[in-house]
Amino acid sequence: MAAKLRAPGLYRAFFAFLLGIAFAAGLTWLVRMATGHSTYHHFLSEEPIMAVSLITAPIFFLVGLGGFDYWLYWASGRPTRPEDHSSHGAHTWKDYFRINTDHKVIGIQYTVTAFFFLFVGGLMAMLMRIQLAQPGAEFVSANTYNGLFSVHASLLIFLFVIPVFAGLANYVLPLMIGAPDMAFPRLNALSYWLLPLAGLMMLLSFAAPGGAFADGWTAYAPLSIDAPIGQDFFSVGVQLAGASSIMTALNFLVTIITMRAPGMSFFRMPLLVWANFATSLLVVIATPFIAASQFFVLLDRGLGFNFFDAGKGGDVLMYQHVFWFYSHPAVYIMMLPGFGIISEIIAVKARKPIFGYRMMAFSLLAIVGLGFTVWAHHMFTSGMAAWIRIPMAITTAIIAVPTGIKIFSWLATLWRGVLHLDTPMLFSLGFLATFTLGGISGVMLAMVAFDIHVSASYFIVAHIHYVLFGGSLMTIFAGVYYWFPKMTGRMYDERLGKWHFWSTFVLFNLTFGPMHILGLQGMPRRVPTYAAKFADLNMFISIASFGLGLTTLIFLYNMVTSWRGGPRAVANPWRGLTIEWQVSSPPPVFNFDRIPTVVGSPYEYGVPGAVHGTFAPAPVPATVGGASRGSDVVHRHTE
């Protein structure tokens, strides 16, 4: 036992976690005594202890887990243990529950954790829909309901969409660019382990006195300032998740810039790599703003600062500006990686080069740039200076152009291709349709005069889900099916996959389509009850949503059973050219025996004998007998 407690791992982590709480208690005790809380029993008060523990306990936990061991050795100038790659790779399921520096293991840790939170967040949505099934229902209290949609959104945004993309990219991106691992493997491990903490923190807020944080994922001040302690679980949880995504973004950027295989010029990178490059730029520049916004809230709450206290000269709207300066770019953080996934799948499944590759790359960068110029379209009715609405509306409308370029280029890629309509492709095509709808409703919202009517109504809720579910989640499903063979070495069940797609596609539209009408009709969002005239549509939506919930169980079943018992996957089941398909499924522990050489564009489908990456020592011109090489690359790893 003592040995177990000394060795890095979950035991030590748990022990440290308790220490963290004790530390918080001690700290608050000292401070309160110093600041003269007269009577003794005032020195210990559980709310401050809880608040401080939110910060100390996770840090202690990570130290206990061993997240900092190497750096502590290094910092103290002691000889660091030479990296024997013992911690690399996963040999048993236990290896997924420790600090692991292998980007493939981390990728799977990320993805599985994220999907766990999809199910939790989705389950909350189910509870919300039960409450909303008829007006005046008493299924949950108003406060609980507010907590439900707040946690629902926070989990699905910060613990599902953003991390799951980071997870998939973590797995395939280094393989795609011919890198043996990420640039900073230890940082990579640390940024993963921050996530479960952030997620559990948000979940635990339901147990906090006064209930979960209940003012939406936007947590507008001043409402969030005098909310019960549950709010701190959000403010701190977001800090952890934010720190995690900044670390990952740094890691991706450095990896992409400094670790590409020889011959892999920027314009030979697969579009998934481009997409994550663009996304990481957004994360690095924007995320600090939400961190700051939550610092402000914590300071106002904890120490009585006056950022948002109008009485003392604070500025209430400032919160919204700072929050949306992150959270609008965040919506592209939640979409661009999906664009990358779709580009990979459509090129392979239509057997054609991506149409207008360069424009695809440039439009990503255009979205990054424009993404920082539109934040106040969330504030058209906020009472901010009226003139700001004009430039923001224009930029918001214009941002549809680069997005449109992508949509049309994908369509052109389909044209005269040889379409393989298996599950990943179905989800990609479904995405094109549903996301276009969501985008168009977005463009409508850019039209100020119209937004003034529907802002914060169910029309917005419809938009949210058409872009986040019909957009992000569709691409996520597509990507998971597409790389499932690579990540697990098994094939998924195609029949179940098709069932999953069709049921999801239909029920998705039945669930969220009618919300547009509800909004226009005047139903506000974030209400546990509503006027009688909305009853029928809401009942309809609720029923559809339960079906939608159940469809995700098909997916779950397919993934679990296929992972455990599916037929073995060959190295390159889709005949893809990008490098991750040129190694075995799953890839060897160290990805490659030899770093590959890139000799051509990643999407030369239809060009006889085209090669993108080869493991042959010397680079050779793309056309000369590439085909045979391309194929024996595969064989060398699948024997």
Binding site: S141, A142, N143, N146, D215, Y220, P222, L223, A310, V316, L317, A350, R351, K352, P353, F355, G356, Y357, R358, T381, G383, R389, A393, I394, A397, I398, G404, L411, A412, L414, W415, R416, G417, V418, L419, L421, A433, T436, L437, V443, A446, M447, V448, A449, F450, I452, H453, S455, A456, I517, L520, Q521, G522, P524, V527, P528, T529, A531, Y605, G606
Partner: protein
């Protein structure tokens, strides 16, 4: 391999779909009744947006369905590839330029509507002070409106066909003053006064909705706006004045001192 007949047929189908879509957009009744001049402008804007959007959506979906129908892998094709087409500058310019123009057109039109809805009317304008607080709305008719002592009340009556300038404050957190029948809303923000103007043009009573999460009572923070004939409005003012003795004392939600 792309047969002329299939193309023509598809284009026809697409046009029909578009037509149906646009007709539908009129058949479906999207909105609650229009009770203000602003509502007419906004609804027209919406219909224009829908009419602009339908063809775009139909285009995208048509291309998808056509490709699925014509280009899906046929027996024996399993190992074949499509033609290596890398791009086409003319096309790319077109699908950059045309959406850009559509969007700029739409956004400019929306500004026209915005201006229409917000510009000061020629005729007289009545000011009504609105105060939001957890979880109720209260109203004050200044002397300019009552012609006597200011009137504080929790009822909202406005005369037909006369522009009303709502000046909105909040005593605690942010609320939003939304009148769906007018298609208008703005937040009530602590520390500042926000406003919008509406010209009611239909007699009746319509819901006033708090449309910004303001706490547990948010879902119940409702009120009603009664649009009545000018004479009826005057009568109401009088009745209220005598009821509350004209005194503007102790009513819940007296507006916060302006800042």
């Amino acid at each position: 391999m792309v047969s002329r007949r299939s193309i023509v047929g598809t284009i026809a189908a697409a046009l029909i779909a578009t037509a149906i879509g646009i007709v539908l957009s009129y058949v479906i009744h999207w909105f609650p009744v229009q009770a203000s001049t602003q509502a007419h402008h906004t609804d027209t804007l919406y219909h224009v947006l829908v009419i602009a959007s339908v063809p775009i959506f139909v285009l995208v979906v048509t291309v998808i369905l056509y490709s699925v129908w014509q280009f899906r892998v046929k027996p024996g094709q399993e190992l074949e590839d499509g033609p290596p087409i890398h791009g086409n500058t003319r096309l790319e310019v077109i699908w950059t330029a045309i959406p850009a123009m559509i969007l700029l057109g739409l956004v400019s039109y929306s500004f026209v509507v915005l201006h229409e809805n917000e510009k000061k009317p020629a005729g007289p304008e009545m000011v009504v002070n609105v105060t939001g607080q957890q979880f109720a709305w209260s109203y004050e008719y200044p002397s300019s409106a009552t012609g006597g002592a200011p009137l504080k009340t929790t009822q909202l009556y406005v005369p037909d066909n006369e522009s009303v300038h709502f000046e909105i404050k909040s005593l605690d957190v942010i609320h939003a003053f939304w009148i769906p029948a007018f298609r208008l809303q703005i937040d009530a923000v602590p520390g500042i006064t926000t406003s919008y103007r509406a010209t009611p043009d239909r007699l009746g009573s319509y819901p006033v909705v708090c449309n910004l999460l303001c706490g547990v009572g948010h879902g119940l923070m409702r009120s009603t706006v009664h649009v009545v004939t000018p004479s009826a409005f005057q009568a109401w003012l009088k009745s209220r004045a005598s009821a509350s003795g004209g005194a503007s004392t102790g009513q819940p939600g007296a507006p916060a001192s302006a800042s």
